[in-house]
Symmetry: C2
Subunit: 286 residues, 2 copies
């Protein structure tokens, strides 16, 4: 154990969890993740903004306390805009939440499956329910910006020929009935959300460290960084590369690994990674 | 030099470059990349399909000879659907082409900039021209599926209040005039395209090897794979991770590195990578 936790402080509970911001609309999967993650925080209120960047900006600028950000889906992969939003702002990741994605087919009260001709959803919702559209060639899929937008649209139209692919939670919010409860073909489909705050805090029991770094442009640069983890017996969980906006074909890496900032092995590894990289930012411990 | 080139054969020129397939519509950046890459192949004809997967499938099933596939943009990052399409099919990458992205503002013959109220483009086109929309708050941006679709739409509407963000090439095809020739704020914005064929071929002078692999689920697995390259003095160019569709939170890696399948050092490194991975496929040499 050591006290050199890179400016991060341990806490028992997230402070000031009052203004929780997510991207999208009421009833979006991000809303559901936010409500579930903060279920132990009765002081939490929820509001939505238009983009991932606006959610992170709200936290950075103090108009929100925490943002709930989808970072990765188990079948669709990483959410590039979320990574870029984190890279741009001085914020920290204080938690993560795994939300199973259960797409339902939602329609107005008097509609039956045989009536449906048009189904609205996010492009990923349509893709994840591809077998349904193959079985029903009479139904057209129309992409909108969010599954909750689809539910809201179907409610507003009030036609029995329209349906939405969204969560049952969105159905409750927009007063739609569930025609088919589980439409997605891969039952284990899960989205991983990050909880983003302004202060450098980590909760007791945190077991993942997340960092963002750029390596020197020389052979073996990334190899040596991974070696710094391996030498300390640390397990790499994820690795994502995103372009550095200012420089063509330069990349920054996002690494998640097992451990806590309190562990001496993690601290040694981080100091070695810092020595090997041209920039290093510890995004958080959760 | 060795003859053990993992089933790949060297060629001076791509054979049967007659039916070239790309995703999108005539005038899309993929069309422009295809025409430019195959400019030395007078036998080449071009056709478009709806999805990246359909383009790769055409090559796999023999209804097309080569597909031209955007794989990465210098500012937006990797194109996940292209990686997934390559992973699904038994095809090989036989070339790459770097296309500078020059977005123009296109409108009907009688329109002036002061008339424009709505601009259509692909979401990336809109994002890459963000400063233009900040300078012109009177202009609304509307996202469509492709920059060429935007140009076609503006032609079909024939209104002087509508414009498209697309290439000057799309403007020629759809009879639109160029109001502003270079609208994107980052002049070095470049998209990297892969040329995908059915046969395992590599052109003389190829200097990049691309592979797809899955590692064991144990600490240091990726570290040791990168070590196999480093030990042979091979420079890693790119690394991308994509989810394995069948397994939650399992990843496959796409690695590009400098070298040719003819080099003994590359062959040694590949045999070592094969030993360290649970699956390895050499995607190509180009």
């Amino acid at each position: 154990m050591s006290q050199d936790t890179f400016g991060y402080e341990r806490c028992e509970r997230l402070p000031h969890a009052e203004r929780i911001v997510y991207q999208g609309l009421e009833g979006a999967y991000s809303n559901l993740a936010a409500v579930q993650f903060f279920s132990q925080y009765p002081e939490a209120g929820f509001s939505h903004v238009k983009t991932f960047d606006a959610a992170v900006r709200a936290v950075d600028e103090g108009t929100g306390d925490y943002a709930v950000l989808p970072i990765e889906n188990s079948t669709a992969g990483s959410v590039a805009d979320s990574y870029d939003a984190l890279a741009k702002r001085e914020v920290s990741v204080v938690g993560e939440y795994l939300l199973p994605v259960r797409h339902a087919l939602l329609a107005c009260g008097d509609a039956a499956l045989a009536d449906i001709r048009t189904v609205y959803s996010h492009p990923q919702g349509i893709k994840q329910c591809a077998p349904f559209f193959e079985e029903h060639p009479e139904i057209e899929a129309v992409a909108v910006s969010n599954t909750a937008v689809a539910a809201q649209l179907v409610q507003a139209m009030g036609k029995s020929s329209a349906a939405a692919i969204a969560s049952a939670y969105a159905g409750q919010i927009y007063g739609l009935k569930v025609l088919i409860p589980t439409l997605n073909y891969r039952a284990e489909n899960t989205t991983r959300f990050l909880i983003v705050g302004k202060e450098k805090l980590y909760l007791c029991g945190a077991k993942t460290v997340s960092l963002m770094m750029e390596t020197r442009h020389e052979a073996g640069a990334l190899y040596h960084v991974l070696g710094a983890l391996y030498a300390e017996g640390i397990n790499l969980l994820r690795l994502a590369a995103r372009p550095v906006p200012e420089v063509s074909w330069a990349y920054r890496f996002f690494l998640d690994f097992s451990g806590s900032l309190e562990e001496a092995a993690v601290q040694r590894a981080l100091r070695e990674v810092e020595r090997l990289s041209t920039s290093l930012r510890i995004l958080g411990c959760f």
